[in-house]
């Protein structure tokens, strides 16, 4: 180590004082801080004083000093969320209070309802109806134009609100087809004949002779609900047997199985679980998927 009196030695090359530290003849320069650095440092100190006064800064046992601004990021987030909620509340309450027809006439409200309906659908409905509302065997496809219980806004709303074949809601949609085979109403060959008739009216390959027999049985047993032409009846939830869409399949086997022992799907009532406005959002979303109908006059 260098001796004490060498401490203020000035380096010849640079004109800077040394610190007095020396290792094997190499001396450490005592170069002062660059002035710009020093001034920046002082400026940050000045800035920090103002910062501590204005913003929450000093931690206390519980919370911290609030500063004269009284603002924290958390508080700001709460305020922003409240503003956003307030903006949405208007739309939500409009949805809740207005008739579906009035809602449908307001493009801004429709946009809001479709966006909200899409996310509600993914959370509540996609488990059965699929994420694209495309359904599956036993679960109706909501994109198409075939509706068991009606496809206008009001009908869709009613179906979502009260559900289908459930015990929880007295207004639930309800229909039940007799189990013609299991309950012994029709013999096996009679069921096969009716199935041939259904194939015939939906425009598929069939045995004409058998279908003729089936037509007579159909007249006796089925027209009360499905109508004489087999076009069904939405008020009774009776499906149209003539079209290309069948909930449980449109082949000979699936038709026979459905006549022998019909399957019946169920859907919970959503008005109990969601709010009025949410059900309307869902109705508008489902209606917009492509198959929605205009209300009959």
């Amino acid at each position: 180590m260098a001796e004490h009196e060498e401490k203020h030695e000035v380096d010849e090359q640079t004109g800077t004082q040394t610190t007095g530290h020396e290792w094997d003849g190499i001396k450490e320069l005592d170069t002062p801080m660059p002035r710009w650095w020093l001034w920046t440092f002082y400026a940050t100190i000045v800035f920090s004083i103002g910062y501590v006064i204005y913003y929450p800064a000093i931690p206390l046992l519980e919370g911290s000093t609030m500063g004269i601004s009284g603002q924290t990021n958390r508080l700001q987030l709460q305020q922003d969320m409240a503003v956003a909620d307030a903006a949405r509340r208007d739309l939500i309450s409009m949805l809740a209070e207005q008739d579906l027809e009035d809602v449908a006439a307001n493009p801004e409200l429709v946009r809001f309802a479709e966006a909200g309906g899409a996310s509600l659908f993914k959370v509540n409905c996609s488990q059965c109806h699929g994420s694209g509302a495309q359904g599956g065997p036993g679960y109706p496809n909501l994109n198409d134009d075939d509706w068991l219980w009606g496809g206008d806004l009001q009908a869709i709303y009613e179906t979502i609100a009260h559900g289908v074949r459930n015990d929880e809601d007295d207004d639930a949609r309800f229909s039940q087809m007799p189990a013609f085979g299991a309950d012994g109403i029709l013999e096996r060959d009679e069921i096969n004949a009716v199935a041939e008739h259904v194939l015939a009216i939906s425009g598929q390959d069939h045995e004409a002779a058998l279908a003729g027999q089936g037509a007579e049985i159909f007249m006796d047993q089925c027209t009360a609900c499905h109508g004489e032409s087999g076009m069904g009846e939405q008020d009774l939830g009776a499906p149209d047997l003539t079209d290309a869409i069948s909930l449980y399949g449109n082949t000979r086997e699936t038709i026979r199985a459905q006549i022998r022992q019909p399957k019946h799907g169920a859907m919970p009532p959503w008005l109990e679980r969601l709010r009025e406005a949410n059900v309307k959002q869902l109705a508008i979303y489902v209606h917009s998927r492509g198959g929605g109908e205009e209300a009959a006059e």
Partner: protein
């Protein structure tokens, strides 16, 4: 006062001299010359003297034009019809548009701007290959603003000598007043610089009113503050250090220059050996060069170098030393151009004429100066001999120039062509993927598409949307719409509209599950058509 003529200390012309030598000598030192450069040295202030001459005048004009373009451009108007801004040049960040007179660029067309930047780059190469660092010396904002700041400095503090004196003088009221005024005006220039910049990003007249009534957005004031600070610091305080230490261009230029590039050159072949008593020594028959070592070239240099040390990284080729030296040569009755724009090739040729030999590196370095024999360069009449090569317009004609011009021109032509053929209609199609298809009750198949139509015109337009290559296809917008063979879609001026479209194809009209087809979108106004390919998917049961 700056104008006091320094009495040359060793001027001892005999009384027989015809007239007193009018050349002033300057006590100037090249503070940034190589010998002085040290990693530890603090910056030595430079007090460039005012120069007069051709290049100084040229620089005044270029400063006027460049600053004029910068300050006036945002105020130019260009009528684009209602609904579109009428500012000729506007970066509309909020609406994501770039307006440049008749051109309107959308974000996805930003390659135009990239193309223009490439052209600017090649243009810089071209100028550098021909004129050396002309960009640095004349057009670079750093040079232009430093020039402007020097005008202010000279106005308040006088020319070089007065400024040096003032700098050394103790602080008095007068010095304080001069310094405060100078820095105040510098800051005002800074504010004006930053203030003009923000007008490129918003409607200038509106923003100007907002600025002065304190209603503009905070970002406007922040931008002004930042640019004021950078202008003041770079132009007023840092000056030549920006070029020497911060700018990459001095390093890049080394790769761009060749022996045909014009650079500001001290013509040592006629200047050496320099002598303060040139006329006297010539009368006495001593062969000396034209340079009287008056240091005028050093005194005017804003970079603090001595051009007579040869080519240096610091030199921005502002050519003020040419002006200074030409003035001296005129007074001495010698040819102008002791310091002149010259190429390395000409310089080497002339140096060899003057009797210098060795490698190129040796010839162009200051080491070769003692070898120069100035008497070989002048004929019996005292004029420079004809074999001396000087710069003329042919200097710029060499292959590199033409290659750069060809590249520059072809990019420009390509951009113009693309611009001329640019559509004002753009269509994007997004095929629904969930579900891919929907079977309807009559057995027909439906696919959903999001058709995005971009109307880049300043007027609302209607578009026919039809399908091509999909037999029996019908189009519908939204649920409950009656399907039709074609749709009419209206899109607002200068905007994008997405239309959810359902395409329905009857049963048994398709051969395969995946069918390529196109949407044809035709503008009713302007007769533009865009055909966009996409797919239609059908289930097996619906095929023929």
């Amino acid at each position: 006062m700056a104008q006091t003529t320094l009495e040359p200390p060793h001027r001892d012309d005999p009384a027989g001299s015809v007239k007193p030598d009018p050349v002033r000598e300057f006590d100037a030192e090249a503070v940034n010359s190589k010998q002085r450069q040290s990693l530890y040295a603090a910056r030595v202030k430079i007090f460039p003297r005012h120069a007069e001459g051709f290049y100084r005048r040229l620089k005044w004009w270029i400063m006027l034009v460049t600053l004029g373009i910068y300050y006036i451009t945002p105020w130019l108007r260009w009528d684009r019809g209602s609904g579109a801004p009428d500012q000729a040049v506007l970066m509309d960040l909020a609406n994501r548009r770039f307006y440049f007179f008749f051109i309107e660029i959308w974000p996805h067309e930003f390659f135009y701007v990239a193309g223009m930047l490439v052209m600017a780059g090649i243009g810089l190469f071209l100028v550098t290959a021909i004129l050396g660092r002309a960009w640095c010396g004349y057009a670079c904002p750093q040079t232009v603003w430093v020039d402007l700041f020097l005008v202010v400095e000279r106005f308040f503090e006088g020319d070089r000598n007065a400024r040096i004196k003032l700098d050394k003088a103790p602080w008095t009221a007068s010095k304080l007043a001069k310094r405060v005024s100078k820095h105040a005006v510098w800051l005002l220039i800074g504010i004006a610089t930053g203030g003009a910049w923000i007008f490129y990003f918003a409607d200038a007249p509106t923003l100007a009113v907002q600025l002065f009534t304190l209603q503009a957005l905070p970002v406007a004031y922040i931008t002004i503050a930042v640019l004021t600070a950078t202008t003041y610091i770079f132009g007023g305080l840092m000056r030549e250090q920006v070029c020497t230490y911060m700018c990459p261009w001095p390093r890049v230029q080394a790769a761009m220059l060749d022996e045909h590039s014009l650079t500001v050159t001290y013509n040592a072949w006629r200047g050496e050996q320099r002598s303060r008593h040139m006329k006297k020594q010539r009368r006495e028959g001593v062969a000396v060069g034209d340079c009287v070592d008056c240091n005028a070239c050093v005194a005017v240099c804003p970079m603090g170098i001595d051009i007579r040390d040869g080519q240096q990284m610091e030199c921005i080729t502002c050519a003020l030393c040419i002006d200074a030296c030409d003035g001296v040569m005129e007074k001495l009755g010698l040819e102008k151009g002791l310091i002149a724009y010259s190429t390395l090739q000409e310089y080497t040729h002339n140096m060899q004429l003057a009797g210098v030999h060795g490698t190129i590196e040796e010839i162009v370095s200051a080491q070769s100066y003692p070898q120069v024999q100035p008497e070989r360069m002048r004929g019996p009449s005292g004029r420079l001999i004809d074999a001396v090569k000087t710069t003329n317009w042919k200097t710029v004609l060499h292959p590199r120039t033409f290659i750069y011009i060809a590249i520059f021109g072809s990019i420009g032509l390509a951009l113009l062509t693309v611009l001329a053929m640019r559509d004002t209609l753009d269509v994007n199609i997004l095929h629904d993927r969930n579900p891919l298809f929907v079977t309807l009750s009559d057995g027909s198949t439906r696919n959903g598409y999001e058709i995005k139509i971009l109307n880049k015109r300043g007027e609302t337009r209607q578009f026919w949307v039809e399908t091509e290559g999909l037999p029996g296809a019908l189009l519908a917008v939204g649920s409950g719409d009656q399907p039709k063979a074609s749709l009419l879609v209206e899109v607002d001026a200068d905007s994008t509209r997405g239309v959810r479209t359902f395409v329905t194809v009857p049963r048994s009209s398709l051969d395969q599950e995946r069918n390529e087809f196109s949407f044809r979108v035709t503008a009713l106004l302007g007769a533009e058509t865009t055909v966009t390919e996409t797919q239609f998917v059908a289930p097996k049961e619906a095929l023929k």
